[in-house]
C-alpha cells in the first residue's frame, strides 16, 4: 500500500462538563423529542451524541391528553402530549437497558405532581446503573397538576429541587419554563436549592384556533410552542440567566443547525439540546456535531469551551 498522505487535522476538543456530567460534545437531544432512543436507531449512533435526554418519566404510567395533540404553526408547532409515558418502572426494565447497551450518555427527565413524587423518582433512579444525570421538568405546560405550576414560583422551585437533591447523588439539571415574568429569579432559586445545571427553555405556552370550527385546535386548548419560531426567545433567556448564575446551562429552543447551536453557546450555554429538529430531520443531531467540529477547525478554535458565553457583553 502506498503511503497515503493524511490531511493535517487539528485535534478539536468538543467535550464539555454539564454540572458534573461529562459530555463528549455539547449536542444532546431534548426530552420528549427522542423517545427512548430506539425510535432513531437507523439515523443516529446514540454513543456519538453528547447525551440522550429521555422522555419525561413519572412514577405511574400516564396516558396523555386526548387528540388532537399537535398543530403546525409558522416556523414551529404546538404540542399538548400531556406527559404520556409508561412510568419509571417500565422505563427501567424496558428502555434503559437498550440505551445502556448502545453506550449512550443517559439523562432521565422526571416529572411529578408533588414534591414527594419528584423526590421518590430521584431516589428510584439513583440506584440504577448507567444514568449520568437527571433533568427535572418543572415546566411542562400541558398537565393539570405539577409541571408549570412548580416552575413559576421560586419557593416551589426551591422545595422541589431540595427534595430531589436529598434523594440522589446524581447531577441535577433543572428545566425552566419561559412562561414566567422573571426567569432569572427562578433560575437563582433553583441554583440556591442545589441545581447542578439549568436547562432552558421549555416550550412557550401558545394556542391556535380552528376558524371554521370556531374552537381551539388542540383538545387541551393550550399547547407548548417549539421550533425555530421560539429561538430568539430562548437565546435571550439563556443570555439573561448566564449573566446571573454560575452553574452551566443546557440551551434549547428551535435549534436546526450548528450555527443555531453556536448562538446558544455564545449566549452562555455549555451544551445544547435539539428538540423539534429531530422530527424534521431524524439525523440532525449527528449532522450538527459534524458541522460544529468543522466550524471549530475552520476557525482555528481548539476547544469549544472557549466559545461559551463569548458574546456576553
Amino acid at each position: 500500500m502506498p503511503d497515503r498522505k493524511k490531511k493535517e487535522r487539528l485535534p478539536v476538543n468538543l467535550s464539555v462538563n454539564l454540572g458534573g456530567i461529562a459530555l463528549n460534545n455539547p449536542v444532546t437531544v431534548a426530552s420528549g423529542t427522542f423517545g427512548y432512543g430506539h425510535e432513531y436507531e437507523e439515523f443516529v449512533d446514540l454513543d456519538r451524541l453528547g447525551a440522550v435526554i429521555v422522555k419525561g418519566t413519572t412514577l405511574e404510567p400516564r396516558c396523555g391528553n386526548p387528540p388532537p395533540r399537535i398543530v403546525e404553526t409558522p416556523g414551529g408547532m404546538l404540542n399538548a402530549i400531556g406527559l404520556e409515558n409508561p412510568g419509571v418502572e417500565v422505563f427501567i426494565n424496558e428502555h434503559l437497558p437498550y440505551l445502556q447497551q448502545k453506550g449512550a450518555t443517559i439523562i432521565v427527565n422526571i416529572a411529578g405532581n408533588t414534591v414527594e413524587d419528584y423526590a421518590a423518582l430521584a431516589g428510584i433512579l439513583d440506584g440504577e446503573e448507567g444514568i449520568a444525570g437527571l433533568e427535572v421538568n418543572i415546566s411542562c405546560p400541558n398537565v393539570e397538576k405539577g409541571g408549570l405550576q412548580f416552575g413559576t414560583d421560586p419557593e416551589m422551585v426551591k422545595e422541589v429541587v431540595a427534595g430531589i437533591k436529598e434523594s440522589t447523588k446524581l447531577p441535577v439539571i433543572v428545566k425552566l419554563s419561559p412562561n414566567v415574568t422573571d426567569i432569572v429569579s427562578i433560575a437563582k432559586a433553583a441554583v440556591t436549592a442545589g441545581a447542578d445545571a439549568l436547562s432552558l427553555i421549555n416550550t412557550v405556552l401558545g394556542m391556535a384556533i380552528d376558524v371554521e370550527g370556531r374552537r381551539p385546535v388542540l383538545a387541551n386548548i393550550f399547547g407548548g410552542l417549539s421550533g425555530p419560531a421560539i429561538k430568539p426567545i430562548a437565546v435571550r433567556m439563556v443570555y439573561q440567566v448566564a449573566r446571573e448564575v454560575d452553574v452551566p446551562i443546557l440551551g434549547m429552543g428551535g435549534i436546526m443547525s450548528h450555527l443555531d447551536a453556536l448562538e446558544f453557546i455564545l449566549a452562555g450555554a455549555t451544551a445544547i439540546s435539539i428538540g423539534t429538529g429531530n422530527f424534521v430531520k431524524p439525523d440532525i443531531a449527528q449532522q450538527v456535531i459534524r458541522d460544529l467540529e468543522n466550524y471549530l477547525e475552520e476557525h482555528g478554535i481548539m476547544n469549544i469551551n472557549e466559545l461559551i458565553g463569548a458574546a456576553i457583553q
Partner: protein, 263 residues
C-alpha cells in the same frame, strides 16, 4: 429499513383538479416498502412549513426503484408540494408504519376505499393479486372523474366496482352501500379499508355484523412519523382496554374493531 432519501421526481401530474400523482426515485424505500406503509415528505428546504407531510404509498416499481403517492391539495403543505416539477428532488423519509397484513390462508379479499383513501389500497390490490388472492376493490368518490386509482386497476386487470355521490357512475350513493349489496354472495374472508372516518366506522359495523376480520388504515396529522413525538394519538381498544395508539408506528393500519370512532 427506514431511510431518508433525496428523491428525484420522475412524474408529477394533476389527474383532476387538486388531485396529484407523484412518482419519484427512492431505491431504498422502494425496495422495502410494503402496502399500507407511508412516506414522510419535506415540502420545502426552508423552515416553514416546518414539518413533513405523510402520504400513503400508492404504487412501487421495484425494478426502477420508484415510489408513487397520490394526494389531494388540502392545505399549505400540499399546495407547495404540488408546485414541484419533474427532475427536482424531494427529501423523503420512509417506508414508515405498520403495513397491511396478509393472512396466510387468505383467498378472497374485499378492499373498500373512499376518496384519496383509495391510494394505499391500490398498492395492496396489486400485491394481493401477485400472491394469487382473489381481489375485489370497491371505489367511492364524489363524481365519475374523481375515482382514485381506477385507471391503474383497469390496467392491472383487477376487479373493481364503483359508487359515486352524484350517481354519474356506478352505484349512486356510498361505497359502504356497495359493500352491503355484494357482501352476502361474495363470501369474502377479509376486508381492507381506507378513507374518511365515517366510512371506516360503517365498514367496521358491516364487518362485525358479518363476522369478517379485516384492517383499516388511518390518516392523522403527525410530526416525527417514527414514534417519538406521540403527536398522532388515536384512541384504540386492545384486550378490552382503551388506550392511545400512535398512528405512525402502531398504525397506520389497525385491526377492524380496534379503532374508536367518534361521531
Amino acid at each position: 429499513m427506514r431511510k431518508v432519501e433525496q428523491a428525484l421526481i420522475i412524474r408529477h401530474r394533476e389527474i383532476v383538479p387538486r388531485y396529484f400523482e407523484l412518482e419519484f426515485i427512492a431505491p431504498d424505500i422502494a425496495r422495502d416498502a410494503l402496502p399500507g406503509q407511508f412516506v414522510h415528505i419535506r415540502v420545502t428546504k426552508s423552515l416553514d412549513p416546518l414539518l413533513r407531510r405523510p402520504f400513503g404509498i400508492y404504487n412501487v416499481e421495484k425494478k426502477i426503484g420508484s415510489v408513487t403517492v397520490f394526494y389531494k391539495v388540502v392545505g399549505r403543505g400540499t399546495k407547495i408540494l404540488s408546485d414541484f416539477h419533474t427532475a427536482e428532488t424531494l427529501d423523503v423519509l420512509g417506508p414508515l408504519g405498520r403495513p397491511f397484513s396478509i393472512p396466510p390462508n387468505l383467498r378472497r379479499a374485499v378492499l373498500v376505499g373512499g376518496g384519496v383513501g383509495i391510494a394505499p389500497l391500490v398498492y395492496l390490490a396489486r400485491v394481493l393479486c401477485e400472491r394469487k388472492v382473489e381481489v375485489m376493490v370497491l371505489l367511492g368518490g364524489s363524481t365519475s372523474g374523481f375515482l382514485v386509482g381506477r385507471d391503474i386497476l383497469k390496467r392491472m386487470g383487477i376487479d373493481h366496482m364503483v359508487s359515486t355521490d352524484d350517481g354519474s357512475e356506478g352505484l349512486r350513493g356510498r361505497v359502504t352501500e356497495l359493500l352491503e349489496k355484494i357482501i352476502d354472495r361474495k363470501r369474502f374472508d377479509y376486508i381492507y379499508s381506507c378513507g374518511p372516518e365515517p366510512m371506516m366506522a360503517r365498514v367496521t359495523e358491516i364487518a362485525q355484523e358479518y363476522g369478517i376480520d379485516g384492517e383499516l388504515s388511518l390518516e392523522e396529522h403527525m410530526a416525527c412519523g417514527i414514534g417519538a413525538c406521540l403527536g398522532c394519538a388515536k384512541e384504540v381498544v386492545r384486550d378490552g382496554r382503551r388506550s392511545f395508539a400512535k398512528v405512525c408506528t402502531d398504525g397506520p393500519v389497525f385491526k377492524i374493531g380496534e379503532v374508536v370512532f367518534r361521531a
